[in-house]
Amino acid sequence: MKTMRTVLASPRLTLAGFALLALLVWATSADARVSSSWIALPSSVLAANLGATMVVHRALRRGGLGLFHAALLVGMLVVALGRLLHFEGRVELTQGGELAAEAIEPLSIGPWNNQAWRGVRFEQGPIRVHYAAGVRRAQTVSEVLVPADGAAPAAQQVGDTTPLVIDGYRFYTTHNKGYAPLLSWRAPGRDTTTGAVHLPSYPLFDWKQEQHWRTPDGVDVKLWLRTDAPLNEREAWVFEPAAQVATLVVELQGQRFELRPGDEARVAAGRLRYERLLGWMGYRIHHDPMLLPLFWLALLGIAGLAWHLWPRWVTPRWRRLEWSRTMKGST
């Protein structure tokens, strides 16, 4: 038992733990297929190492130093647990559309994740992104409607440093957003299909506002968007798709159409109606139930460190005596 404790408390294990941590951090950043859940492994090794060291060295368990090391130990375990429970993902949501689990693209999921992200619902409202001169992004305002039990959906404004939080899942607006023309396709003998086509991110791809779409019955449609107010790099402006008027250029079965909102393009295969211009917002999704415990543990650890250091620092009288003694000795 003693040997086990000694091995676990070894400084070599500390170095090995940090080396493993560095290796896995590098691997997770270099290769998206390597899940960040693996960080739980070196965190656990380092936690075991610190725990054993605290058992071996009594000084590490006393007073402020004890509080600091205990908070550090629990903190490492909490980080590991957070990696096992976490969820990272992204989603693009059209104005007026509701979040559906199928639309979410998971980027990283911890093996113990509660999968509650599949049940999260909210509706995307109007989008406004303010820009300073020089196409420099300023404030982002994304309005969302969150369903409430037995009541009307509650409107919320999210953006920049204010995420939307539902069931512990945090939705952050990103620079990724753009236009989404709302189209209706009616083929002879079929029901009308209505949906929005997401154009490339704007204004990042201002020069490439084009998209390809295939109707449910297999007709290829090419789309280009030409806004009435082109991007002005010299002045401040607001990206607000619902307020923007644009011409949708459509290539359908070899014919070219220029559609204004409400116009239709008619070909033998059916009719394509450009209803109006909407926008889409890209969200980053983050879930880690250990966030708050980790924050308080970090503060507790620092408080322990301050408690430990305080008597060593606030000793002005002692310091004066020390100085005088030294001066006498040197003259």
Partner: protein
Amino acid sequence: MVANDEGVDMNAVSAPLVSMPELPWLWAGVLTCLAAAGLAWAGLRAPVPAHDMPGSRGQRPWRLLELALVLVAVGLAQRWWRLGHGPFLDMFEILASSLLSLGLIAAWASRRDRALRAAAPVVLSLLALMGLWLLVTDPADTHLPATYQTPVLWFHVLLGKLFLGCALWALGLAGLLLLRRTGWGARCLLRLPGDDVLDSSAWRVMQVALLFESLMLVAGAVWAQDAWGRYWAWDPLETWAFLTWLLLVGALHARRSMRLSSATSAWLVVAVFTVAFLTFFGVPFVSVAPHKGAV
């Protein structure tokens, strides 16, 4: 220009120098700082009056530094007023604000710590070096991203400045200890406390630096979580800040558990400060913005 939507290039808008009224003040502050450093070195060569306490003759460089800080503060205030945001963004702003904050901490500490007062050549030389760097840095206007408009940023930046200020204080004391090991230094710095006192003083300040750095990392994580949806992503600045914390913690443990000589201990202070300095001012060489691509 559209790529600015990513917020990567903070220096995209160049304003003509005549429209930057802050520059003469900043340059005057830098020149005064250089003069203070020169005076500190010249003071070392002067004979020490028998009745003088160590460092009291060296008050003039510190007073000159205080004048330099007033000039830099006026320049920074003008820039702040003109741009409508604090100096948080590019290398020019970070250098200028650090010159002010580190100078203020050093000037305050010099009034409390007589040994640090004697360390003027070390501390003021470093500040002068930062000033020279500022002179050759592009002062282009910057744009404050929306993710920077949060009170947490103030705490994060303030704690970072306090950490580096304490590390500079410790560096001054460790620098004295090391300078005294040279033949010339031994003659000039004879009337200072013993190596053990300088060493323990330096590490007491480093312990406070550890507190501030730990708090800075926590505040930074809170900001990153709100701004970018992750509290830690191992970006270059985060990684180097963590390495600095590890090195400082490792040095504190090494000093406690091993019998290090005063010189080795002083070199450890130099090492910690060097890594911290590179983290603050070296990483922006690799990434234009403090957190590249994350704004």
